[in-house]
Each structure stands twice: as structure tokens, then as C-alpha cells.
């Protein structure tokens, strides 16, 4: 059984590009201060940042919960948004439903969800159309990526 060292939840503001990414920056500082290995830290903050951007782009609001144990980092992101009708399709690199405005901001080129999956040792995406989406990612502390 893994010992829980830290648990913290953050509220993500939906449809707010300017603030998007602040929580991931904070998570980076928290994990850095705790002396987490640079490779694991990098993978965790990439997942957090992509997830945060997705909430900022598509949802009304969301919550990101960070849990650190002696074995892994997990990120649980839940939003109240439009949901994803076809998860398999959404996970294909290059597939995107982004608006021109999102692309102008440098996001929405169909890389976000694949990036999150690639940087996770365990990845789960659940969604209900009209309700919201949940992303769960686990990054093992002894993994190499």
C-alpha cells in the first residue's frame, strides 16, 4: 500500500485563457520543492498543463486533484463541460474539435490528449456528453520516460 504524502485540489476556471496554466506552474513548484525526479516532474506537469488547457478551452469549470504517494504522482481532472462523444477518436493524434480562437492561442492541434496519454503510466479518460469529462493519469516515480 502506497503512503500518501500530499493531496491538494485546485479549481480550474473554464473559458479563461489568460489564467490557464497557472495551476500547472504551481504544481511544478510544489513537486520541485519536494525534490521529485526531474523526468517524472516533467511528465506530470505536461499532463497537468494539457488537462488545464482543455478545461480552459472547453468547459465551464473543473477541478484538478494532485496526489503524491511514495510510489507515484496522480492527477485527477474533472470538468463540467460538453463531454467527448467519441473517446477513441479524440485520442487520435491530429484529431481536433478546436475553434480558430483556440488555435490562435497555440492549442487545439489534436495533440493534447495524446500528449497526456504518452506521458502517463496509467491513463483513463471517461466522458458523458452534456455533463463533463474526467481524466485520470498516474506517473510512477521510478519510471523512465
Amino acid at each position: 500500500m502506497a503512503a500518501e504524502l500530499l493531496r491538494e485540489s485546485f479549481q480550474i476556471q473554464g473559458r479563461n485563457f489568460d489564467k490557464a496554466g497557472e495551476i500547472s506552474s504551481e504544481i511544478k513548484m510544489i513537486l520541485k520543492d519536494l525534490g521529485i525526479d526531474a523526468g517524472c516532474l516533467r511528465r506530470a506537469v505536461i499532463v497537468a498543463f494539457e488537462a488545464e488547457m482543455n478545461v480552459a478551452m472547453y468547459a465551464d469549470r473543473g477541478t484538478l486533484t494532485l496526489v503524491l504517494t511514495d510510489k507515484d504522482i496522480s492527477l485527477d481532472v474533472r470538468d463540467e463541460g460538453p463531454g467527448i462523444p467519441d473517446i477513441e477518436l479524440a485520442l487520435q493524434e491530429g484529431y481536433s474539435t478546436a475553434s480558430d480562437e483556440m488555435r490562435d492561442m497555440g492549442f487545439g492541434f489534436g495533440m493534447g490528449l495524446p500528449n497526456m496519454k504518452k506521458n502517463s503510466d496509467e491513463f483513463c479518460l471517461e466522458s458523458e456528453v452534456g455533463k463533463g469529462t474526467r481524466v485520470f493519469a498516474r506517473i510512477r516515480l521510478n519510471s523512465h520516460g
Partner: protein, 114 residues
Amino acid sequence: MKLAEIKDLLRCEVLAGEEDLSVDISQVVASDGMSEILAFAKSKELMITGLTNIQSIRTADIAGVSAVLYCRGKRPDKKVIEFAKQKRIPVLATEMVMFDICGILYNKGLKGVS
């Protein structure tokens, strides 16, 4: 190659991190898509982009690149430059377009990330 040499080669203006130009650069990641930068950067690269909003510096910070170079004469606003200074990320800007920048740096021995 030192960032200072890149600055001279591409006739760049230094917007942040004048004191950090001695950093060594051997690889480059270039895109206007931030997720592409996040997907390919392995840390310590030079990031070239035409995107000048706050997310460009956030992406640079998350990806762990060594410096940001804005191309095609684009300049970020003051808030973005201040944020880069706070994150200690050197920021350069050039009038050159991305294709030319990449060609010049490639000829000088710098490589892309694959």
C-alpha cells in the same frame, strides 16, 4: 552553440535574460502549436515560435526549454516579458521567418528534436 552567437547570427533583440546568453544550445524545437512543443521538447532546447501570448512562456517553462525565440518580427506584450523574467527564461526576437531561422541554425550544426 552559445545563445549569444544565435542572437548575433539571427540579428535578435534580447527581450529578457540578457545575463543568461552564455547558455549552450544544441537542439531546437520550432512550432506555433504549444502541444507540439510539449510533445517533442526534451528540455534544454531553443524554442522557436510565432506565438507571443502568455501560454508561449508557460509552455517553455513546462517543457523546460532553455530559451525562447520569437520569429517574424512578433513581439510579446510587457506582461509576457515580465513573466519570462520571473521564470528566468531568456527571450529573443528576430524579424526573420521561421523557415529561414531553422535553415540557418541547421547549417550551423544545430539539430531538431526527434
